[in-house]
Amino acid sequence: MTVSNQKFVPLDWKQESPSALLDRIRDAEIVGMGGAGFPTHLKFEAALRAEHRSVIANGVETDPGVSADKTLLRQNGNDVIEGIRIAARVLNATSCILAVSERSIANQLKEGNSSDIDIVEVENTYQNGEERVLIEKLMGRRIASDVYPATLGIIVLNVATLFAICESVRDGLPVTKRLATVMGHDQWCEIGTPVHDLAPSSDKLRVGSFANGRPADSKVSLQPTHNAVSIDRANSAMPCIRCGWCDTACPKHLPVERLLNEATGSLSAPTSLTHLNDCNDCGACVVSCPSGIPIIDYIRGSRDRENNSRTAERRASEALSRFEAKQQRISTRNQRTLDDRESRMQQDHKWQ
């Protein structure tokens, strides 16, 4: 953390106005670092319109084989807590909750911190780190999939995001690096590093966990949203034996196996777009698969394909309706010109 890195003037957040803090968060271009990459200031602005506001710091990291957030909480737990206080000041929040998935971290953070922040230990089961699931666990509110929690005043921020908020406000530092789990080891990585330079020994990589990460080719570089770099196991996958464990594992109860077999072409039933769009990319199916099939790649593939073809259809029909409307306009105009001419000719006739 050298001074030369500084881009902004450090702010004393206890004195500054909440709007100045929000401006700083926007200027530092902070995005959700848990994976979504949603601009954080937009989230704050959406929440500011709600009546009651609360901040949830999401330290529940349940991605298999990823421990970056846990390490961040161990190493820089107090910075994260300061980030929570900054967020609470921006929002004038009534409650702050820090959810962690390990008791030792919870105990470590509880020491020496006043009780303005609830530090809650959440069971370390897969999916508990998902925004809506976490809200349901902590507040008992079930939020429908088409409602954005921030509009209800509930802001869920990843601990890495809160750390970035703290650094940008308190120290004036932009987001230039993040803690990521690279092949099982947590390390600070410069954002923008080519992924293959981080793990040169392996040629097949994924950004994100092996469960729900995306395959990374040589052009992919580390983004603020990437919490892990792991080995791609797609090549060692064995055939699907239709055991149906993915169906059991799916927290959304989607017919995963059917979707997979439709994507690979061994089942010809039409894919249901509702099912594909209900999938929230958690990757539980990949973890459960005894054959090690990267199911999520297929599901993403067919979802993109379906959505693209539907977009193409929609665009085509829109173009058609525009074209027809234009034809209509042209013919009306021509008709009007003809009518005008007709009437003028009749008037001329009168004059003669």
């Binding site: 298999p64 084989g65 990823v66 421990s67 390490t71 429908a144 999939s145 789990t181 092949m183 099982g184 080891h185 947590d186 064995m238 055939p239 699907c240 034996i241 239709r242 055991c243 149906g244 464990w245 169906d247 927290p251 959304k252 109860h253 989607l254 017919p255 196996e257 059917r258 061994s266 039933a269 509702t274 099912h275 209900d278 973890v287 459960s288 698969c289 005894p290 054959s291 090690g292």
Partner: protein, 299 residues
């Protein structure tokens, strides 16, 4: 910090646990029918493995263990008197035509072991149906073709054991034990075996009137005769050729059980599980299309 969680089992792990679960049944079969059973099971297994290697032209394809399991299951379906070369032919047909013609593991429409079994059952009826009195199929035949005599009059027939068919009742108990292990380690869910067993029990309970000439044989007898437990726990649960949805599993299992009973009672063959499984395999796409799977969350 290095954490590398694995799936609860790899495919190989599933097959290994299935093999463990088959051990008690195989041991009791050897105890009941002698060492001939070992020859039969081993020749079936070796033929299956050889055919798998021929079809895939690689030795790596064996690592999932599915060929070994297919071969052993086929061997365990055999009566003890059958010559080993017939079993080997069955294994080759099962692996070759039942599995690899469709594209190998995961793509086969029919249970390979049952394809092989039925192929040799219809090709070598002499060797596969006429054997000594110590076997379940004979007991099934005795019960099925007893004419006008009541079950009570059959009471002392040498082919009937304590509560099932002599010999086969203990084999079935052992397969029940192995199947319970599979359920306990969560390789299979309890729904499929229960559905098959209920499918077998229902008609027998309905048509069992205490043992008159028209009676079907006691439910207990049918549950512990022939290949009942082997079918319920090891053959119907083959993941590739069985459905995955809860309701679909029940439809499939009940169909297998009831069809087995219908063939036992009215069919030309003493035991009907192989045909029942193949018929259910034929119906599988229909079941999967017509019987709904779980609904999505939030909807």
């Amino acid at each position: 910090m290095a954490v590398s969680p694995e799936p609860k089992f790899q495919t190989t792990g599933i097959m290994v646990r299935v093999l463990i679960a088959l051990v008690p049944g195989t041991a009791v079969a050897v105890w009941a029918f002698g060492l001939r059973m070992i020859t039969i099971v081993v020749s079936a297994m070796l033929a299956a493995v050889a055919m798998e290697m021929v079809c895939t032209r690689s030795i790596k394809s064996l690592r999932d263990g599915s060929a070994v399991v297919t071969g052993i299951l086929l061997g365990l379906c055999m009566p003890p008197t059958v010559p080993f070369w017939i079993v080997a032919i069955g294994s080759c047909i099962g692996i070759g035509i039942g599995k690899h013609i469709y594209g190998g593991l995961g793509k086969n429409l029919f249970n390979p072991a049952m394809v092989g079994y039925v192929a040799i059952l219809v090709s070598f009826p002499e060797q596969l149906t006429h054997f000594d009195a110590l076997t379940g199929a004979t007991a099934l035949e005795v019960v099925s073709h007893r004419g006008s005599s009541t079950l009570f009059e059959l009471g002392n027939h040498p082919s009937l054991g304590l509560f099932g068919a002599a010999g086969y009742e203990w084999i079935n108990c052992a397969f029940l034990l192995g199947g319970a292990y599979l359920v306990a380690v969560r390789i299979i869910s309890w729904h499929m075996p229960l559905a098959v067993l209920v499918g077998i029990a229902c008609p027998t309970v309905l048509f069992f009137d205490g043992g008159s000439a028209a009676s079907w044989g006691s439910p207990l007898f049918h549950l512990f005769a022939g290949g009942t437990m082997l079918t319920a726990f090891f053959i119907a649960t083959d993941p590739v050729t069985s459905p995955t949805g809860r309701a679909q599993i029940w439809v499939y299992g009940l169909f297998v059980g009831i069809t087995t009973m219908l063939i036992r009672k009215y069919g030309a063959w003493a035991d009907g599980f192989a045909f029942a499984i193949l018929l259910a395999n034929i119906l599988l796409p229909f079941i999967e299309r017509r019987v709904p799977v779980a609904q999505a969350w939030n909807r």
